[in-house]
Amino acid sequence: MDKMLGKKRYIAIFVMPALLLFLCFVVAPLVVTGIYSLFEYDGIGTMKFLGLSNYIELFTKDRYFPKALTNSLVLAGASIFIQIPLSLLLAIILARGIKGEKAFRTIYFVPVVISSMVIGQLWMKIFNSQYGLLNIIIGFFTGEKFEYSWLSTPSTAFIATVIPAVWQYIGYHMLIFYAGIKSIPTDYYEAAKIDGASNGQVSLKITLPLLTPVIKTCLLFALTGSFRAFDLIYVMTGGGPNHASEVPGTLMYSSLFRRGLYGYGSAQAFFIVIECLVFSYVISRLFKKAEENASVI
């Protein structure tokens, strides 16, 4: 068997299709983007080498990039401080075994399988100034007709795109936590129960520490997802009004495909990659210590 499975010809036949596609259409384009980001280039003329000045310009001359970056951090903050704690709480409640546990799990997860285009269009209708669900509900409680255009007012446009983003993925994080909790051996709980621990104490002292790797996964997911955010905002506001709801992803898109700034847009795109890598590394380092502590228990 080992002889059969060591034949170079078969290894090549089995690996090559996937490896070639991956190299040519995922890795190579990424490298090319990295190279473009160091040049001034409009796609037709010659390329002029700039070094890192595209990246410097992002923070010094660009009128919208700092705002876009702040927006993506606000989105990340909303995920970390609203979405994840809420999902964790739901997972803990459900994993304890409550009536209708499976039904709740299934329902919470429904929005996850829907495309962000549909979610975006739907929430645009919810935020519609005249006929939107939100204004109708507000009108119902105040007793008079309420009209406010959430998405075309600069101060509320971005927040209005954060809400569906948080809403859509609550079920996803909940499920990851739920699976994590269910994989904790029940002996731990039984031992704690015998020692007379309350439900709250069990969650705080046993479930949470043992969930550390899962919490890390969810944090990484929320952070990188926020940095690369594009679909929902592109559909709902397109970055407007007056660039109030831009994120790096939408800015990059308009630099590349509306303004033809291939070099500068590539720097914006590559910045997102670097940001994701740096934060992943930092989170992994931060959690290394916590995971070591957890494994002691």
Partner: protein
């Protein structure tokens, strides 16, 4: 005391369930209404007059049928091709004897971290040069390439868990690698292939950025992009747009309805491997 607490928790769970489902209920009901009902007469209730005509109009006049069939083709092909080539590559990585297998695997694993944005422009240029941009192949290539890493992760971790004895016997009987892979291995990895396929299907069906950038002609458009242009065109007819959105969502909801456990498992696995 304990009973009261349990009841409060239960009510919280119900409220969140309502928050998760109510927007979708609203979507489904307004997709069956006329503007008169949506805009005032009957905002929240079930439709008084069930206008299925919204659906037939969207499908025929709005071109949604064409987009739907395109999306079925893109997703089906991506799932099939990705499944086969990652099953093969996974087998080579997990089972075959060569020195670079761990390195190659780690290389693929890094691919999960790459945001699609970062490859968009060079892909756009290279597909344009090859004359593939704007057609079926031009969108299938990036879809398959970007689906490879995750599918491979799921399959490799499954391969590592199956005992070698299963194949050993057939190799000793003189079975060739290709035949053994086709008749022994593929049937064993079916559950992992299903998990990987669900992940690939959802990602492809819902994808927006590639489809929006790499396809211009409405003949080759996918549902997400098609409906974006559709809703611009019929922006005042909410019932029609709602119907198109429900049509776009139906396949994923049906898959989820029948395979909810597998779908949940597949997406959780995707997150954990990522």
């Amino acid at each position: 005391m304990k009973k009261v607490k349990k009841r409060i928790l239960f009510i919280i769970l119900i409220l969140i369930a309502i928050a998760q489902l109510f927007p979708l209920y609203w979507l489904i009901t307004f997709s069956l209404k006329s503007n008169i009902e949506i805009f005032g007469e009957n905002v929240l209730g079930l439709p008084k007059d069930w206008r299925w005509i919204n659906y037939t109009t969207a499908l025929s006049d709005g071109g949604v049928l064409r987009y739907f069939l395109n999306s079925v083709f893109y997703s089906g092909t991506t799932v099939a091709v990705t499944g086969i080539i990652t099953a093969m590559a996974g087998y080579a990585i997990a089972r075959m004897k060569w020195k670079l297998n761990n390195l190659v695997f780690g290389f693929f694993a890094l691919g999960i971290m790459i945001p699609t944005q970062a490859a968009l422009l060079p892909l756009f240029q290279v597909l344009d040069k090859l004359g593939l941009k704007g057609g079926y192949i031009g969108l299938l290539i990036p879809y398959i390439s970007f689906a490879i890493p995750m599918s491979l992760m799921i399959l490799v971790s499954f391969y590592k868990g199956i005992p070698k004895e299963m194949e050993e016997a057939s190799y000793i009987d003189g079975c060739g690698v290709l035949r053994c892979f086709g008749t022994i291995i593929l049937p064993i990895i079916k559950p992992a292939l299903a998990t990987a396929s669900i992940f690939t299907f959802l990602g492809t069906w819902n994808e927006l950025m590639f489809a929006n950038t790499l396809v211009d002609s409405s003949d080759f458009r996918t549902l997400p992009v098609g409906i974006m242009s559709f809703s611009g065109q019929y922006s005042t007819d909410w019932g029609l747009i709602g119907a198109a959105m429900v049509i776009a969502t139906l396949p994923t909801i049906i898959v989820y309805f029948f395979l909810s456990n597998q779908v949940q498992e597949s997406l959780v696995m995707g997150a954990v491997k990522g």
